[in-house]
């Protein structure tokens, strides 16, 4: 037996489908920008952990360093902490062939916004502020900083001034070493945050779509 929908029947079904897709998009955006990113933040290093892991490293002479220089080593003025940055991210909702998906983009700009600064010695007494967004800071290194926090990664720091040496804890200064290698361990912030959220997202969407669909029963 074959049934054919009337034009008005088809219109009605399209209207319901479109309303449900729209509702899914709204609900998904609210869920990702709210509870999901909250869960991601729970797996994100706090300010002191950021300072510790960015300052730790091994020099070219094999000396390990795992302390933060409290005066000069890690200045967040002008930058967001990683937790602040992630909490302020906004999802992008896509709808391709009625498949709705939500994406949190990792742009180079986002990585640069969660960088840091430090003070370097430029004379016997003088200090100068430098940061990961300076033109000569090495864009390739710092524009993937969030990826390093997520998946682990390395960076090498060298003095910017010819002939100078590195201090132990900062990316460059006059001091003891020619270079320092740093490893950031993978924190899997997004991976773990999303895993924690999966069941909740499905539950929220189910409830919301059920309630929306019921509007068409009335």
């Amino acid at each position: 037996m074959k049934f054919t929908l009337t034009a008005s029947g088809e219109n009605k079904i399209n209207k319901i489908v479109n309303a449900l897709i729209q509702k899914t998009k709204e609900e998904l955006k609210q869920t990702i920008d709210g509870p999901v990113l909250d869960n991601v933040v729970k797996h994100t290093p706090d300010r002191s952990q950021e300072a510790y892991f960015l300052s730790s490293g091994i020099s070219d002479t094999g000396v390990s360093w795992n302390k933060v220089d409290p005066q000069r080593g890690f200045i967040k003025e002008g930058f967001k902490t990683l937790r602040e940055g992630i909490k302020l991210q906004k999802s992008i909702i896509k709808d391709e062939n009625n498949i709705v998906s939500g994406v949190i983009e990792h742009t180079p700009e986002f990585s640069l916004s969660v960088g840091f600064g430090w003070l370097t010695k430029i004379g016997k007494q003088s200090l100068k502020k430098r940061s990961t967004t300076d033109a000569d800071a090495g864009t390739e290194t710092w524009s993937s900083l969030v990826w390093k926090w997520e998946n682990g990664g390395t960076y090498t720091v060298r003095p910017r001034d010819y002939g100078s040496k590195l201090l132990k804890s900062v990316p460059e200064a006059n001091g003891g070493f020619d270079s320092m290698e740093k490893t950031i361990q993978p924190w899997r912030m997004y991976y773990n945050g999303l895993n924690d959220s999966k069941a909740g997202i499905i539950e929220i969407l189910k409830k919301s779509l059920k309630s929306k669909a019921q509007e068409f029963n009335n």
């Binding site: 990826w147 390395t154 090498t156 773990n192």
Partner: protein, 178 residues
């Protein structure tokens, strides 16, 4: 007959043992992962100093445990999930194309091994990384396998040819609450 004392502390070691000893055939050669990728490092835990890592390497890392739902009464089978990632670091060759090939073959071999293995035996590890085969083994199921390349995360060679294999080990545990 001795029984395994506890599943949870032995999952990591058992999986690591499996990774080091599983054999498979490729291009008419049967051998362990270390035979198909000579010189490979197989590590337990993420390397502490990536820049010093010998390539190629793979490292087995247990991720944080997912929340479990247990709102039931009486006898039931509790499901415990152990989420793992195998991080892969290729890049032992001196050519970009060859390094990408090494990354992709290593990743695909690991995927193949996980897909074709339905369960992993769990043993006691009394004092070393060698299992005690006298313990009665139980097994855990492999599920939710996902492989992907990692975007370049730094300027060193170790950052350039990376991949990850995510998967879960599931263990069903009979619990009697009555």
């Amino acid at each position: 007959m001795p029984t395994i004392t506890n599943i949870i502390p032995n999952v990591n070691n058992s999986l690591f043992y499996w990774l080091n000893t599983i054999t498979y055939t490729k291009n008419s050669i049967t051998g362990k992962i270390s035979s198909h990728f000579p010189g490979i490092n197989i590590l337990l835990g993420f390397p502490s100093a990536l820049e010093a890592l010998k390539l190629p390497s793979i490292s087995l890392v247990e991720n944080s445990i997912l929340p479990q739902s247990n709102e039931v009464f009486g006898e039931y089978r509790k499901m415990i999930t152990f989420p793992f990632t195998i991080w892969g670091f290729a890049g032992s060759k001196d050519d970009d194309g060859k390094n990408k090939y090494e990354r992709d073959t290593l990743k695909n071999d690991l995927r193949f091994l996980l897909e074709k293995t339905y369960f992993i035996n769990i043993y006691d590890f009394p004092e070393s990384l060698e299992p005690d085969f006298n313990t009665v083994s139980t097994d855990v199921e492999i599920m939710n396998i996902k492989t992907y390349n990692i975007p370049i995360t730094g300027t060193n060679k170790v950052d350039r040819y990376r991949f990850a294999v995510d998967f879960d080990l599931l263990y069903y545990w009979n619990i009697d609450l009555t």
